[in-house]
């Protein structure tokens, strides 16, 4: 569905050249849901803009939905939906007006556009807002309208650029549910960018990680996580004086590594954290230490990113 080779995009500014994308290769098969993950400025939007024919690449080639992005941009546009990072709708128009006219931009006749718009408003829980000025929508409703506009022509492939940025957790969960359902029911190929790790985890079967214009990892969430060795165990103690003993006790667990004492807690990685935990508690008990808490965490994509780049994703947010 997407086949990109060595996509490069430079921006020539007055006194510098920005290398936004430095050579991206991606292949996405029909029906896949791929999350494009990376920190601010990594080149996610720029890559998406090239794939959606908004921006010509400085170098490289890509076919999207079977057509070349450079030579057949209109054929590409007919077949894809793009939900950009900004607001797709404009104040002063009503929800159903924006949606129906969007349908007509794709060549639907008035009647078909009206029917399809109603169907989408229903699917995305916007029927009640159909006659409302888009300026009077909540952030989540407005985002769902963007999604509806991207789907009006039943595209085979949709691109979503940070679909849930700026939404509260509930609206986010709701939007992600809509995206998952879209994939289940209509078999649409989905390519979405995000900096939320849990979002990538929740909707995508495959995660492509981009950093500084280059792809640094590509795989299923589980494959990526398996690169991080082991689960993270954190035990909270009574006070700093207990730290050395606790670290020593933890070190006695055969697979324990990356032991890091904090102010009042010790964190370390271990294989099979769930089974290591009771053993640890007994050992700490025997050493006469009192614990205030203990916590096992499976590797997250944040750990993956840290592992790949030496930087945390969260710090960049």
């Amino acid at each position: 569905m997407i086949h990109a080779q060595n996509l490069v995009r430079r921006f020539e500014l007055k006194n510098e050249t920005v290398h936004a994308v430095r050579g991206v290769d991606v292949d996405v098969a029909p029906g896949e849901v791929v999350a494009f993950l990376g920190p601010n400025g990594a080149g996610k939007s720029t890559t998406l803009r090239m794939l959606t024919t908004l921006l010509p690449p400085s170098d490289g080639t890509a076919t999207v939905a079977g057509f070349d992005i450079r030579n057949e941009p209109v054929e590409v546009r007919r077949r894809i939906g793009h939900i950009g990072q900004g607001n797709g709708s404009f104040d002063g128009l009503r929800v159903q007006e924006e949606l129906q006219i969007q349908g007509r931009f794709y060549g639907l006749d008035r009647g078909t556009a009206r029917v399809r718009a109603r169907e989408l408003l229903d699917q995305l829980d916007l029927s009640e807002q159909a006659d409302r000025d888009v300026a009077r929508l909540s952030g989540g409703q407005r985002r769902r309208l963007d999604v509806a506009m991207g789907l009006i022509h039943r595209p085979q492939l949709i691109f979503l650029d940070e679909p849930s940025s700026g939404l509260d957790p509930q609206s986010r969960a709701n939007l992600l549910e809509h995206i998952r359902r879209l994939h289940r029911q209509e078999d649409v190929t989905i390519f979405l960018t995000t900096h939320y790790l849990d979002e990538a985890d929740a909707v995508a079967q495959r995660v492509v990680v981009i950093d500084d214009g280059r792809i640094i990892a590509d795989g299923t969430p589980d494959q990526l996580k398996s690169k991080v060795s082991g689960d993270l165990i954190t035990v909270t103690l009574q006070g700093p004086e207990d730290l050395p003993t606790a670290a020593e006790v933890a070190g006695r667990i055969p697979t324990a590594h990356e032991i890091e004492p904090g102010s009042d807690r010790v964190a370390f990685r271990v294989e099979h954290g769930d089974t290591a935990m009771p053993e640890l508690i007994r050992a700490l008990d025997a050493a006469g230490l009192v614990m205030r808490g203990a916590h096992v965490q499976r590797p997250t994509l944040d750990d993956v990113f840290l592992n790949l780049t030496g930087r945390s994703l969260r710090d960049e947010d």
């Binding site: 959606t52 209109v74 546009r77 990072q85 900004g86 607001n87 797709g88 709708s89 794709y106 060549g107």
Partner: protein, 253 residues
Amino acid sequence: MNLITSTGSVFDRELRAKIRTPWPYVEALADPLLLLILFAPLVAGLGDMPGLPATDTIQWFVPGMLVLMAFTTSAFIGSGIQEERQAGSLERMLVTPVNRVSLLLGRVLRVVVIVAVQSVVVVAVTVPFGLRVHPDGILVAILQLGVLAAALGIASLVTGLTLQNAYAFWGVIAIFYTPIIVTSGALLPMDLAPDWLFAVSRINPLAHVVEAQRTLFVGDFADSSIVLGFVVALAVAAAGVLIGTRAMNRIRL
């Protein structure tokens, strides 16, 4: 999507976006109508002067006000496309197969239609105050105002697309607004102007259309100013469409 159906859809969207608020029309009509009420009496008070009729000021003043009305309706629409570019809705439309030039032409078509309607309204309210209209002349006059609105509208859109930021756009408007209005000859006749100012008025498209409008209202079809008015407006429109087409084909967001 072909150019005509695309333009129709864009026109529809534009019309709906601005039909439920009176402000675009207040903005467009306030200036010309207020000048008609406040300034026309002063002109009438001047009496016999070169370029001015001794009596019957309204016959001289209204055609000029229609040209100013066409200007205030169409010359600011470039800021609208800037706003949509900023928001992201322009980007959303650029990813559809819609003909990109129609994104400009649909907007232009709206101001053409609005100018035609507003012209009829202005003429209808001034006829009771003594404005005489030549039946064929008025039809051609409204057609010409439409062409002028199209020319100014496309020029404004091209300016908005090229300058990108709102401060630059309104800065350019501020620089050109007064010279365009003053040298159009809509307020006072350019016959009063010193040579250099008269020369400036010759490169102002509005000045030629103002003269053509006055001739059209009295139905003096033999006068060459009518053709000149059309030629000037069409030339600006053609240049605008050419530059606008290039700008839309190269647009980067």
